[in-house]
């Protein structure tokens, strides 16, 4: 069964370095008004590369709970 993830971007802390946009293997992120935005969270495979490589603590990837599904 496919796992679903919540991809949360804190745009207040984002400094638009675009690392997440380039590094994501599933192209979940886009730049939206100078800040990163997770536009396709349903494609996320939970590799956590964006979370680990975001220098600004702005991205959080979390497994969806039963309720959120």
């Amino acid at each position: 069964m496919k796992k679903n993830y919540n991809v949360i971007v804190n745009q207040k802390w984002c400094k638009s370095c675009e690392i997440c946009v380039a590094i994501c293997p599933k192209k979940v992120f886009d730049m939206d008004n100078f800040y990163a935005a997770a536009n396709r969270p349903e494609d996320c495979i939970g590799c956590l590369l964006c979370e680990k490589l975001c220098p600004d603590f702005a991205i959080e990837v979390r497994l969806k709970t039963e309720k959120e599904k």
Binding site: I19, K52, F57
Partner: protein
């Protein structure tokens, strides 16, 4: 994991530039602390001056922001006064090997049980991009606009020669390895050094176009130019020009300073 639990959120967002690798290293440290399940009150994070020196401001441990290059000296006092404390020192390349060079080699010689993490971005980023002891020959900085004539320090080899118990090096791109090395260094008794290659797009990338100008390009440069230690041993010096050699350089079990010092106290009491 929840990073916010370890951060002083009122101090965020941090002052590091966009694309700076320091945030990635700090995240790695927090992940390891989380994995090891250390209490926040049992950790002391000490730093000197520079971009890396801002680190203690953002984390919710016992923190100490000290004078330039003297982070290890302050940490020595902390460790001897309270040997049960996990003392982590974060230091920049200039802070650790230029201004605090003597403290660095002598802490390694004494084998104090301190975990040093060197944020190596090859430049003095905060003060305007001056050439540091780890700026490689021919590379540019604001003080060496026509190329650096000096040779660079190899921090890992320096720590190895000075007698550290654990020495490893990774880059900010290779976070999984960085996590592993930081975890191993935290679990090692004695002086342990993890050299983390960071990127400084604002000062270093601007002057040295071949590494890329943005944080992302510099991260990709690390990806393309990293050679593991085992592979590097089979390569010639010319092939290794400009490459980042990563891996574990030293891993040995030997008595640390607090252990030896406790023995001295015991001997003195008996006489």
């Amino acid at each position: 994991m929840d990073y916010l639990n370890y951060l002083r959120q009122d101090k965020m967002p941090h002052i590091w530039c966009d694309g700076c690798g320091h945030g990635i290293i700090l995240k790695s440290i927090l992940r390891v602390v989380d994995q090891l399940g250390w209490e926040k009150n049992n950790i002391a994070l000490v730093s000197g001056i520079g971009c890396s020196g801002r680190t203690p401001g953002y984390v919710d441990f016992n923190t100490l922001h000290t004078t330039h290059g003297r982070a290890i000296s302050f940490a020595t006092g902390l460790k001897l006064a309270n040997p049960k404390l996990h003392v982590i020192v974060v230091s920049g390349d200039g802070d650790a090997t230029a201004i605090g060079g003597n403290h660095f080699i002598h802490a390694a010689r004494r084998n104090l049980d301190i975990n040093l993490i060197v944020f190596n971005n090859n430049i003095y980023g905060m003060t305007g991009g001056q050439c540091s002891p780890t700026t490689k020959t021919t590379k540019k900085a604001t003080t060496t606009p026509y190329g650096n004539p000096d040779s660079a320090f190899d921090i890992s080899k320096l720590a190895e020669a000075a007698g550290a118990s654990y020495v490893a090096r990774s880059t900010t791109y290779h976070v999984a390895k960085l996590d592993k090395y930081i975890k191993d260094s935290f679990l090692t008794k004695g002086f342990s050094v993890v050299e983390a290659y960071s990127s400084c797009p604002t000062s270093y990338g601007k002057m040295n176009k071949e590494t890329g100008k943005t944080g992302l390009q510099m991260l990709m440069y690390q990806k393309d130019n990293t050679v593991p230690l085992q592979k590097a041993q089979k390569m010639t010096q010319a092939q290794l020009e400009g490459k980042f050699i990563t891996g574990v350089f030293v891993e040995k079990d030997k008595p640390d300073y607090t252990e030896n010092y406790a023995k001295v106290i015991q001997t003195a009491k008996q006489q």
